[in-house]
Symmetry: D2
């Protein structure tokens, strides 16, 4: 069985999700190459040591450059904060390491392109972490589109709604600072639904957006961990420099009309990552809070029993599910990462590019920036302008 | 256009629902015979006069016997309290009036049978008010069963859940008194789901039940109106003499297993009249709180898109719906009565028995009493024992 | 009891809905003034005679001008095709008749304003037929917003999805011809959700839209009736001159971001008229296909039981519902018109303007045209430009 | 950190679920004692060797008796077929090994009691595998009951619906043979909902049931694996000796009425493990196919916003969830086992009995047999009779 040596940079939310995926992969997909959890890397030694033990890595490091010289590392997994992605990726590619980078690929389209170019130049494989593609219900949607079972696509609408910063006293964590996060809801949540649109129905040609920062100042936190942070009542305040919400409309190359909304101000929505596709022969609806389900409608059902079907995508007929539990036994968020890593391992074994890869990351970044430009200039922007 | 002269006895909840049905029928079903709203009858003159004006009847009466002598009355509509049904029906049949009686047909099986016998002896038409049959989504369920599209039926489960007497301070209204109401949840709610079972999958052969009166004493109301009543804090209390909840299991002649529950103690359920049928080729689910919808599942759907379809039964392909609004424009509770009256008018025009008729009322009463007997004697009771 | 003499022009879909509302109003709202169904008017004598009998009007006419001279007519109800609204309204106002006009008020903003001006000049009352406001669940949403129970509003998103012209062989009915209908999905469906936005959270300041006609030619029908029409296979084709779908984004005066979509190409959606409002203290969601329900979320619910509540708005605590049936017994589409007419009758009795009135119709038209302008000029348009 | 040496007997469906739980436990619950995956045992050497490697065990064995002598084994995990439970448990207890046994504890109540007695006599800890208790949404239901937030409980209804043997050509696997499985739907599915009832609202006092085997003969399979098996068309047939469906009613010590149904003949239901509890102050509803959700209703909500709340039990306020992902990121079936093992490890560390333990297994078996007796004798059976 082929083994792939992994060096992972970052050990917080995504670091945990990736580690778990490596750890569990071969128990459920025994024929996949084995990801060897060699080195986990983080700047804070205490933190990374604890993560090493807890997540099951063989070694840890505090300087990511150390990983590039090791022969036992074939792949660099980059899930450090977004502002560090580019430097690491360029160096790793130069060291002939394959790349697995969390989204957003970079803080700018230019950087993303530079990363893609570097990966191509050095002939390494590259993957970007759009994990939601790997929910079996999303795979089913893709299959229905690809097989023509929804016909010609007219509409794609998607919204990613959260509410974790609704409280104005929630502190100014790094995700609310442009210089670290690059973007707010747009880059964090919007990126996912843009990628799903690309995955499911193809490229967009033009966009126009709007955004807003509803709460313009927030308490500066004394300490930050992951998504959460504490602030005292006496905290000084600092400016929120990213968008709280971004909406945009688009046209797709296939002729469909697109509608997108990403917000962290939708009370009651913890993680509503939803899309709907309407075609000439049918429609599908997905909501990540019920990630095992796809609502499916066909126009050619018998006249008296037409209706959206609630397909619980846990049957053997659904992607990945024969590796898990009997039908009706659902899986969760973390499984999307296992399937993602499965694709990555198989691609490396087969010496092909994994999907989605940096080209998909670039394409997503291109739309993100096209939307930002359309907001800045209050006009429709062709995606090809960028 | 044929006209049918109506004399209606009772003017409360059901009296209003029936009046409305007569009033609206021909606007939406212009080819149906015309129910002439001749006389409405009630014991309280002030009350019945107001109802006459409000509901649109030509005349009123305070003694129901007066209706039997009138030539302009072809049909007696009986929706007075249950303890009055039998006497009226027997007299009306003897006067050669057709009969439309609300459920429960009578306070006992013996009485119900006497009513059926009288109607048959005098050769009059007779209908019983199981209105839920007439929801288009229920009609669709029936159609799917009859056409064999669900295959052999294995399971029928139904529950009618309400919560209007959950509060122990809710007063002792007539529906909680055995001598007037005959029965509690069992006869009021259970009767409906028993009838739906008969309608949808046929006869039961044996039953066993259990029941309970959770709140055994309630304040005696100073005044009662319809379902509601007021009681003062200083009210004396009286015993509740009917069941708050009745459950039973049954076997059907077709081989299916039945499960039934009727309760007024299900917090959060205002009117959850639900059933599910599981067959060898498919299943259906219905909930009256979403009465325009039927959930439908077929085992022969393609492997990757099997799931319950949410059929909104408002298309032209669904019973009655071409008479109403465009697809997707829903109808409500009162429409079940309009469809019921449509069947009644057509049956009278065509000189045939309407369905459901007193035979269905008797059959329902037979099951109700079989269940009561099974509770009293703590044993399985064959429906044919009664 | 006060009586209001009605003359109604138009007798198709809306004519039926209005007639029914007049007919049923006082049965359920006996204290409301009585709408006297005096004259129904239509150009086709056979058709209008049948409607007169079927809907219960005392007289019929084929020339709407005849209605203006009658003393027994206080109110002119205009539900003729949209291109006839203005001429009738101006003449009726000049004749001192009160006005009840279906939406869209007119084919253009200029016309709509002229109608409002005329009504004001002649001192008559005027109402516009935005019936969806009158669903009890929508009224509940309004109440929650007005009482501050949702806090500051951040997001309003709405979509009105239908699928009745999805089939390219569906014929070129009048609703698909700009000169008669004025607009396609935008004016037909979009108008309703724009009005709901105005009703629920107030005015918009700027908009930008996009639209598409997916099927550009359709068979010319041999005969048209209401929404449906027949075409033979050999039918000649004509151009569809209205939009199949229109989307737009907006900003509200209250600071909220808006997202709107109206389409007739959403397979599986017969009549999905939906909106969601997200505020700082809570959210609500509505879907007309389940019109008796409102999903409600409050941020101040106890931490462990936060979630969208499925409120079945049929309790006595909900608008209008004490006039109907016991809790849990749902109502349907046509009831929105009864409540609308209730408002109209009460307003006339109380000598005040009904709500919504022509000013609301103008405001809606203003947004519709602002969106159209934004599409034509591919730019954000301030609503005040128009 | 304390370590617990594990020896596990069985390596199929449950063996995989348990192995995964041991494997993942400390990654998400780093403070829990460490389950050392020492030896996995199965009769088929090839099979168990593969499982050893795939699941991550240090050693394997083919004779379970070998495990009892090992000093590095503190706990015997028994998930072999049900007919082997007793012998292993008795021997293991005698060897002073703690016990973790899958449900059903044994093939008979007598055997189950013997197992409990042995465990108590030898002073070992014992757990039984009722994993569904450990879904966070189920834990929330338990919390609401225990804190009195649902008030006095009136109704408990539960159904466990599957459809995997609906096809009559599905072969005669071991789960359909009484001598191996002990029972059909009743022991397999019914056992789970009986245990949930015990967990949530306490003991039952009397029961009456009914059951059926709809398909009485099935093809004898050539080979069996887990839940699935293949049969050729020419297969000989053998008798199905267990129930396809079992229903029963019950009374609870707390005064509630119970209704239970377990079936493998409910088309469209892959794994609908559902319950509803109605109390004087509120209700809850659960469906395992949406295992992250609990529907919750409170009678003391404001009058105009009463409704079932869809609580997505993934907030930090919900049991276990602070160990997983951010709010709204759901978990799946396998997580119930991780939580179960967490309880087991903590109990061993704290030198207390885990919950649920063999006493719960006995209690469940007692109800199962009481139901079977009630079916055999067609009468109500007091649980204490057994």
């Amino acid at each position: 069985m082929k083994e792939i040596g992994i060096g992972m940079i970052g050990y917080k939310f995504m670091g945990k999700a990736h580690s778990h995926a490596y750890k569990d992969l071969n128990m459920f997909f025994p024929d996949a190459p084995v990801p060897k959890m060699n080195v986990i890397c983080g700047r804070n030694e205490e933190g990374v040591r604890q993560a090493q033990r807890q997540f099951g890595w063989d070694n840890y490091a505090t300087d990511w450059r150390q990983l590039l010289d090791r022969d036992d590392i074939d792949l660099i997994d980059i899930n450090a904060p977004s502002d560090a992605h580019k430097e690491i990726a360029l160096a790793a590619a130069a060291s002939k390491k394959h790349l697995f980078c969390e989204k957003p690929l970079a803080l700018s389209l230019a950087d993303a392109r530079e990363m893609l170019d570097a990966a191509e130049k050095h002939g390494v494989k590259h993957m970007v972490g759009f994990n939601y593609r790997f929910a079996p219900a999303v795979q089913l949607a893709k299959k229905l589109v690809d097989e023509g079972r929804l016909g010609k696509i007219y509409h794609f609408r998607a919204w990613f709604l959260q509410d974790w910063i609704l409280d104005p006293s929630f502190p100014l964590v790094w995700r609310l600072q442009k210089e670290v996060a690059g973007s707010g809801s747009h880059g964090d949540l919007g990126a996912h639904i843009i990628d799903l649109a690309h995955f499911l129905i193809g490229d967009m040609t033009e966009v126009i957006g709007m955004n807003e920062t509803f709460v313009k100042e927030r308490p500066i936190p004394s300490a930050m961990t992951g998504l959460s942070a504490k602030s005292s009542d006496s905290s000084a305040k600092g400016p929120v420099t990213v968008d709280d919400a971004t909406l945009f409309m688009s046209r797709f190359a296939c002729g469909a009309l697109g509608s997108f909304e990403a917000t962290r101000f939708a009370a009651g929505h913890r993680c509503t990552n939803s899309f709907e596709i309407n075609g000439s022969k049918g429609s599908v609806k997905f909501d990540f809070e019920r990630m095992n389900e796809l609502q499916v409608y066909f126009t050619d059902d018998a006249e008296d029993v037409q209706g959206f079907r609630r397909v619980v995508a846990t049957d053997p007929a659904h992607a990945y599910m024969d590796a898990w539990w009997p039908a009706g036994h659902t899986i969760g968020y973390e499984h999307t990462f296992i399937h993602e890593v499965l694709e990555l391992m198989h691609a490396l074994e087969e010496d092909r590019q994994p999907v989605p890869n940096f080209a998909d990351g670039v394409k997503c970044q291109q739309v993100l920036e096209a939307v930002d430009l359309s907001i800045a200039e209050r006009r429709w922007v062709s995606v090809n302008e960028l």
